[in-house]
């Protein structure tokens, strides 16, 4: 690492952080017990990871303005789209009867509001909120 100048070092560190986040995302995807937690892990860890990687690359190419703007564009675009796709997939996954919530999932307020036949989703009224607020996790 001694051979790297400061800029390269910064760049490398940023890249490394990014890569580690992405590995964590991969690991999360590998390890997590249900779809939603896998998504929770990957969508963000990867977003974070790609952010750092893009920053690292941008530092390396700092002089090339179009490249930097393109890299920023990539980052912004991912930032904009990743949650949307996560939402879409999560919603679809939830509506898919084959998807099983992890056994440790202790509360599911969506379940009673979603009408599987009509695909309608109600909001929670005051009464329901009140009842729901009483819930506490069981100690396992």
């Amino acid at each position: 690492m001694l051979e790297l100048n400061l800029r390269d070092t910064l760049s490398f560190i940023s890249l490394l952080i990014g890569a580690v986040f992405i590995v964590i995302a991969g690991l999360g995807l590998y390890r997590m017990p249900d779809l939603f937690m896998r998504m929770s892990m990957t969508t963000k860890a990867s977003t974070m990871g790609i952010g750092f990687i893009v920053i690292g690359v941008a530092i390396h190419f700092y002089a090339d303005r179009p490249v930097v703007t393109k890299l920023i564009a990539i980052a912004i675009f991912i930032l904009l789209t990743a949650p949307v796709s996560a939402h879409m997939l999560g919603r679809a996954g939830y509506r898919d009867a084959l998807t099983k919530l992890w056994s440790g999932t202790w509360v599911d307020e969506l379940h009673d509001q979603y009408n599987r036949r009509q695909h309608t989703l109600d909001s929670m009224d005051e009464a329901e909120l009140a009842i729901a607020n009483q819930k506490k996790p069981e100690l396992t």
Partner: protein, 89 residues
């Protein structure tokens, strides 16, 4: 070692590792949504590999490729999600 070499011998292998994890999930599933999440991650890793590869190759052109991947990959995931829902009809 230059930055390019560091990227080559550290960053890209790390990303490959992540790729392996993601591939496992593609193959394993169990639901289609799981696979799609994994493909989505693979797309992201792909973007990471490509931009890193720009450093290795000293060609910034590859960043354009990454942009295309980012833009169209989103469409793929949305389409999948959309049709997983449709299936229930």
């Amino acid at each position: 070692m230059t930055l390019a070499a560091w990227v080559l011998y550290v960053i890209l292998p790390l990303l490959s590792l992540a790729l392996l994890f993601a591939s496992y999930r593609v193959l394993k599933g169990p639901t289609i949504a799981d696979r799609v999440v994994a493909v989505d991650l693979i797309t992201t890793i792909g973007i990471a590999i490509i931009v890193c590869f720009a450093i290795v190759s000293k060609h910034t052109l590859f960043i354009d490729v990454a942009m295309v991947v980012a833009l169209t990959g989103f469409l793929g995931t949305i389409a999948f999600a959309h049709y997983i829902e449709q299936q229930k009809g």
